[in-house]
Assembly symmetry: C2
Homo-oligomer: 315 residues x 2
Amino acid sequence: MNIGLDMMGGDYAPLEAVNGISLFLAEGHQNVTLTLIGDAGVVKDLLIAHVIPLDNIVLVHASQVIEMHDHPTKALREKKDSSIAIGFQLLGTGKIDAFISAGNTGAMMVGALFSIKAIDGVSRPTIGAYIPRENGTLGLLVDAGINADCKPENLNQFATLGSLYAEHILGYKNPKVGLINVGEEEGKGNLLMQAAYALLKENQHINFIGNIEGRDIVLDKADVMVCDGFTGNVVLKMAESIYDLTKRRGVTDEHFDRFNFERYGGVPVLGVSKPVIIGHGISKDLAFKNMISSAQLMLEKDLLQKMKDVFVQKS
Amino acid sequence: MNIGLDMMGGDYAPLEAVNGISLFLAEGHQNVTLTLIGDAGVVKDLLIAHVIPLDNIVLVHASQVIEMHDHPTKALREKKDSSIAIGFQLLGTGKIDAFISAGNTGAMMVGALFSIKAIDGVSRPTIGAYIPRENGTLGLLVDAGINADCKPENLNQFATLGSLYAEHILGYKNPKVGLINVGEEEGKGNLLMQAAYALLKENQHINFIGNIEGRDIVLDKADVMVCDGFTGNVVLKMAESIYDLTKRRGVTDEHFDRFNFERYGGVPVLGVSKPVIIGHGISKDLAFKNMISSAQLMLEKDLLQKMKDVFVQKS
């Protein structure tokens, strides 16, 4: 397998990307080729300086960089020789099997949605986010902020996609899927959630446990927490602020430290036909390493085929 | 002024209600009559046992209680001699000027919305919730969960009502009103928030500071945080769970202790024509005392007339 990595994306690129590669390769992984996209001269010097063997590494030069403040659509159109544009071009033509970047999130989403096709039957791809839970595990929140306005069927598809990711990548057997709502009973909620509940209840591909409430998000009540992207964004940013708050208050606690979202590396775009992982701008070595490992696992488990199989059945 | 108090509502009623009355009366307040509605025999014995002077107290006997698990509409219809039903009857006929209960929240909302008229021009009354902020003050979240589906104009009215409450009751001069959204820039968000932004920007009765994000909720960025009741409910319950989490983790911190929502006594129903305050079921003495003080302040400041003046201008 050949995993493509944007070496120019993120606040600490390319150095922390190189450190992440070093961590990843230290584990072995002879069957993985890494295609590193960016300023080839700079990247090569860094690889050599870090004594990283070049056997399974392919360098692809990109003369441009999409900056964090660039307008996503405009940048992708105008910076055709940027690492992100090249990455999606390589992914689209099958020269790489997965693409990872901690760069401009908007450009990554636009690239994922428009350069790579959605899985047949998926009307809206989504993005997940990890939520640390008190029992030490991670829950998956979908949608974490891409689709601000959703239809009930979108939420039903997020549930299926999130459940497959949770099962095969996070390792939950028969993951519990909960719908974020304002009360536990069926019939609660706004019109969207009432209609979504009815669909989730009939969805044969998931283990639907019913509604979960705001207070259940940081508990292990559900492994996959389904909501529209508006709610997901507010929930995620509020969870992130808990960490900031504990740090400012001088609270040291192992569990609250897990609210440091820098640790989790990146979240998958779910529902597009190839693995795309978008990292936090502040990703450091461990985050880059985790993103490469996630992409590897998605390919090893053939997650995309599993998703396609489900949606073929349904359509 | 005459403030009515449901003595039977809440997990610790009537004892903690009596303790709250004791705390309130210890501050003076000769101009306040308290009308206590409940089992008159039991309440009178408790008042005497707590050496509470009966000069400014009126006891109104209620032979029934709406329990926490009772169906709100059904209970109000069937238990006509319950403390909540009598309270709204007294409020509706002007025998009391404000009504407070820590009892069945649903029955209190139904009573407030259907026994007491909405202010002319207010299409949907709302309920606020206090959010503790890092600088030690309280922010006001509206809607905190009553109106799961909202129109942009509802949010605009919540903003006006919340702003008046924040100014006159919480004491914020020219309170900052923020719209809870997924990004700071105008144009961000779902269709509801995009349309609401346009209305809030033109609202002459508020100091609109623009969008705020999930991470800003526990900061002092906005004094009044406006959202639909679905989002508000999820946010509020998530904030409540932070306190539970800190307690379970053994974190002791003055600020996180302020996430203990039991402390705040009760939240006002905003947009109905008379002061109605709904307390948490677990309200204790300080909570009851704070609710009485809030009602007193709402009456002293003639908050309802101020609200009516604004909506008369607008319609």
